[in-house]
Every structure is written in C-alpha cells, then in structure tokens.
Amino acid sequence: MPKAFFYVLIFAAICNLFWSGQSLGDDVEAWMKASKLAGEGTFESKYPSATAYRNPLSNLREESEKKHLVGDRLFDKKFSDDLNRPDYGLGPTYNHLSCIGCHAKDGRGALPIVPTTNPWTRLGTGAQIFLRISLKEDLKETPSAENNWGSPIPVPGFGLQLFHLGSFKLRADNPGSGLAEVWMKYDFSKFTYPDGTQVELRKPIFQIRSPYDETTPGSSRILAKDVQTSPRMTPPMIGLGLIEAIPKEDILNLAKRDLSAWGIHGKPNWVIDRQKELQKDPVPLSLGRFGLKANTPSVFHQSLGALNGDMGVTNFAFPKESIEGTELFEAFKQNWKPGIEASDEISQALVFYSQTLAVPSRRNVEDLQVLEGAKLFQTVGCTNCHHPSYKTGSHSISELSGQRIYPYSDFLLHDMGEGLADGRSDFRASGRDWKTRALWGIGLTKVINPRAGFLHDGRARTLEEAILWHGGESKLSRELFTKLSKSQRDSLISFLKSL
C-alpha cells in the first residue's frame, strides 16, 4: 500500500472518529442494536450469571432438549483409567479428566496460578491449557493425499498434542506425568498510549521438561529444533452449531472482499474432514471453521477429536489411542483395554450438546456509550474481520436453520503479527495466522470464569489487553484504537462487554 494512501486513510478514519464521538447520527446499523445474537435460539436472561453459557438453544423442541440434556451430563462426566470401571476410557495420556474440566461452565479457560514472584510453575491436574506440537514444515500450497492434505506433521514418538498428564503406571520414572511435564511463567511488558496511559501486558512462556524419551539432558525428540509448539487455551462452547450452519459461500465471499486499504486479506483454511474420511471421500477436505487456526471443519470433528485427544477416550470417529505407536504406549499396553471406549450414543450426545448450546442475549443495547462503542468498533475497522452478521442456511438440526445471528467473525485466517505468532503452521494457516474469534457472549466471560484469559493462550486478562496484542493485518485498527481518547476507548470496550 502506498505510504501516502496509508496516511490519508488514517486521517479519514480519525476525522470520522471525532465526528462519531460528537453525535451518534442516524447511521446506527441493525447489528449495533441487535440483542438476540443467536436468533430464536438466544438464551435470554435478565441477569446473566455464572451459568449463562450452560443453556440449550431456546428454540429447541422437547425431543431435542432431552438429547441436549443427555449430552450435558456426559460433558460433565469424569472418565476413568481404572480398567475395572464401566466409565473406563481415560488416558493413558490426557490433559483433563472431563470436558467440563477445561471448558469450565462452557466458558473460556484460565491460565494456572503462578505465584507473584513469577517462578516456573508446573501445569497440573486443573490446567485448562495444553500445547499443540508438530514438525516444522513449509505451507503446502497444493494439498494432496501425498502431503496428507497439508496437515501438520506429528512429532515422532509424541504426535500432535503434548499430554502433560498420564495414568500412574505409564511412566515409572515420573508417575502421573504424560509425555512430558509442561512448565509456565510470564513475560511482562508495558504498552503506553499516546495519552501516556500505561497498560501491563503479560505473555505465558512454556518449557517442556522431563520428556519420557529423554536419556541424557536435551536428547528428547520433543526438544529438537524442528519441533514447533503452540499453546491452546480452552475456548467457549456457545453457538457452535450456528457457526456450522453458516453457508460456506458466505464465508468464502468474505475472503473475496478487497480490504487491501486496511492491509487485510483473510483466507479460508481447508482441512481434513473426518466425516468425509469415514465416507471414503477421495478428497476429504472441508472449510475449516473451528479451532483457533480454523483447523477443524465441524462440531463432530472438533468434539470427538477432543474427546480422543484431550482425554484419551477413543470413539467411532477417532478409534486409535492418541499415543498409539509410541514406545511409551507399547510398554503400557498390558495395563490397557482395547476397544472403543465411548459408545456411539455417548459420542453422538456430546456432539449434539456441543451443537446446541445457546448464546446469551446482549445487555444495554440502548445505552448511549455502548452505541457509541459500536460505531467506533466499525470506524476503527474491527468489523473488517469481526464480521457482525449472517443468516444461517440449512442444518440437520432444524432449530439451527434460517436464523439471523451475530457472531462477529469472518471465520477466516489473518496474519496477526509477530506478537501473537506461534510459529506453527496448521493446514493453510501459517505460524502468524489465527482465525478471527467469534465475539458473541464475550462480555460475560469474566462472569462465568473470573480468571478467564483471552486470546489463544489466555494471556490477555482484559479485553483492552486483547486489543493491544492485535498486530499484522489488524495493526491499523489497533493503532486507530490507541489514538482514541480514553472515553472513546471505554465506549468501545463497553460495546464489547454488551455482547
């Protein structure tokens, strides 16, 4: 982009800000005042509480609601690694014992407690974050069966996810540990606004210790230079079925917009679709919609992959133990019972539950500060990526079909800059790319979990910190945000808190 044009754009945007700060005018768009973020399925409560994310879609029919409630129980269920129990299935490596353990009250997770002196702190049984791992590779411009459709390359002996917990008998050298221990501490920095206001930022950094294959210090495969790691904080569970029901073309059309003046060029991720694989589709790819790099295509794939991955519970979609083929697993096999651990009924109920959680309605939509914030949200360019609204298409769960929804995301990948980069590619997502996060319900994050963190690794304690971490394609928007007056910044945050 020519530099002169860049400055003209900033000037125009700033003029617009001053104007918008003076009057709300008549150009209030429908999304700015929309209260029912999930159409007829929106959960409406006068006073949203800690259970605000734990409700079925309001428009579910009786039979559907019964199915949802069955899934609800299973979502809370703690699986066991005791061979003699009927709820056997946990492990032998895992990150948590239950879905709800990470998705606390179906909301965002929180980073572990690190003492104020900031020492390295070990991730334990209550951790709501884990590391994805893979070998360094170049992005595959032409996915094919030969390059496994561009999917990440597993770390030999470790796979694609670092499980920090394990069954007691898994590792004689380190009982209770999984593939390795994961330790964490913070890097702190400060951001200073043009008006002199300072904000402390923190970023979790991770260390892998005591990997199971380490014979001499540093000898483990997981510690080799070609291994990429990326932290993943638990995302909220709301509205997933509705995202699934957005017509593919609507998302792809957003990728065709010319936003070059803003430096924005969202791209779709095309990822392996487990349902297509099961149907023996020769090209088992679909548009990625879920996961922080849009690396899974459906709630089915995401939920059952997590059941298998995060807890080690095999199911009909993912029937292999997550560490199968490793030396660690071979040595453990005598303590393990073969077979599918989650019945088809359990698996389907969990998927249905995940598809049918409601999004809470907005609060304070008529508040003038909130409305001003909505306009600023648009003016500084947030809506370029946080695309407000869609109408859902047809879905096998009819209650998800034909709904006007407001997720505030284009579901596309964007380069988010070095500050957020994890350096790990995932299908067509580069090490700097992240999928635009949906913002619906975000204003209730802290009501649900007071310690919850925003962004992919939970680093941001506040929405303001999350905005300040935006870089790359969102750099211009962030700069415009930082040039706002304190009161305007507060208005924009008020709008986000109303979602």
């Binding site: 006068k46 509480s49 809370d76 014992l97 310690r451």
Partner: protein
Amino acid sequence: MKFLWIAALLVGLNSHAVTPEEIVDHIARKVIVQDYVDLASRAADLHASILTLKSSPTQENMLKAQQAWRDCRQPWETSEAFLYGPVSSLGLDPSIDTWPLNKIDLQAVLASNRTLDLDFVRNLGANLQGFHTVEYLLFGEGTSAQKKVASELTSKELEYLDSTSALLVEKTGQLAHAWTTNADPDNPSLPGFVEIISRPGPNNPFYPTTQAVLSEYVKGIIGILDEVANGKIAGPMGSTIGSADPSLVESPFSWNSVADFSNNVRSALYVYSGDYRATPGPGIIDVVRDTDPELAKNTERALRRIIFEMSRIGGDVEIPFREAIVQPEPRKKIEHIIQLLNELSATFTNKILPIVEG
C-alpha cells in the same frame, strides 16, 4: 420497665424490613464464606485425626478419623449450591473431589516403594487425590460384609492418608482464602470474592446490580437441585432396575451417599432461608415472601421434605444408596425424590427467579 423497653426494641428490630442488599450481604458472608471457612477448618481437623491415627493406629482413632472425614465432607457438599467464583476459577474442584477414584492405580501406588509425600501425591492424577481417596483408605470397600478396621491399615496407607489429607487442607485453605482475602492470586490487589459478590454496582466487574447477585444465588440453587436429581441420583439409578449401576454412586465406601445428597439440598436450603447452622437468615425466602408469602413458605417446606424423604429411603433400615438402587421398594422412594427435586427446580425457575430478578 427495662424489660418492656427491650421487648419494644426487639419488636422494632423484627419489624425492620430486610433489604435485598442485606440479603445479598448476609448470604455471602454468613452462609457461603462461613461454609468455606468450616470446610477448611474441618479439613485441618481431618488431617490432625489422621496424624493421630498414623502415630497410634487404634480402632478408636480409626473411628475418629472416619467421623472426621464425614464431618469434613459435610461443608463440601453444602457448598454445592454456590459453585460460582473461586472454586471454579481456581480449578480446585478436581483435586478436592474427583469421582471415580482409580482403585487399581491406588493399589499400585501403595505397592510401590516410593515415598508418598505431599509433592508426590500432588503430581498424581486427580483420581488419586481428594475426598474419595481418603474415603477409600479409611473405610475400605465399605460393603455390609466388609467394614475396615484399624488393624487392616498398612503403614503405606497411613503415609498416603497423611499426604492426601494434607493436600486437601491446602486446597480447601486456598478456597477459603480466595473468598475471604484475595479472589485471584494473579492479582494481589483484588479483595476476597465475598467483597465482589456482596457489593454489586455499575463498577463491579461481574455483578452490576443487587438483583444480579440474587439471580446468581437462585440459579445456584436450581443447578444443584437439577444435578442431584438428574445426575447424582438418576445416573446410577438407570431407567430400570436392570440398568442401575452401583459403581457410579459417589461416596459408596463410607455409606455417605445419601448424606451427600441431603447436604446438597441443605446447601440450597441455606441459601434460600439464609439460615446457616445457628445463624438465622435473611435469605431468598425474604424476597419471595414480600410477593408471595405462600410460595415462600411452601418452598422451604418442600426443601425440608426432600431432606426428610432422603432419610427414609431404606425405611427403618440403613442401607447404602448403592444397594438401595437395586431394590424395588427403595427405588420407588428414590424415584419419588427425583420427582420432588424436579418439581422444586421448576418452581425456582418459573416462579422464584422472576420474583428475585424483579
């Protein structure tokens, strides 16, 4: 004369209409915080009784330690109508109360030649920590035919009991501290969660109004009534006697399952009435009474009735819940209790919540 003056003052005090703000404050400080303080204190008592048992493993000390476990279990179960705030956000629940425990691995731990100290236990899976691990070690299988006695305790079991109950002291202490003193260790300037929940207002990050807190309290009640009816009880019950699964019943070794359920309902009663042990209300009942005195009274009765019905599952005979669910007569009583719980949950959802939210 002096007596009349005091009586008049008391009448005056009694006629003081309690405000919603006072109710919010009372429940936060005199019910929730007091429950968590009791939990931490009883966890310390449990650990102390285990240390006594460890140094002198007599049958008398065994029985005392078993009773200390039951006493400690009580405030934990009576906390389940208020699962918002630190218990969830600090991720403490898995270390305190993971069910099921892994008995195979527990035996392997005991058979190992490792030192079973606090750090060792801390790094084990959550299903080898907390209440149910202590329960199993203290009570054994707890079947009618086999009740564990002190002479069966091994030195390894005592070592493990010491460490895992010490961990329970640590976790319950963190929970009480988070409510009373600092809600988030990452943010030392934050007060205890009690100050956050009891002082709603536009600048409160979580609760903008008093009604929002009252709503939270009532939703907590609804949550536990639903969980007891459709999770803790209906799960192991199955839809038929043939599909009942006793292995899913919590607290089976101590025969404490029904006490757990009763204490869960008591938890709802504490918040509803505002009465906690010897400390009287006000509670949610006082908000309801202003609008619908009959509803207020009947709801309290319904809570008490469920607690009573739970005590009568075995009739005049004490039978553990895991045995009750596979016997026809007790099953009928349990099915009735589920129905009562669901009806009451619907009352809170459809009648009481709209009243407190105004």
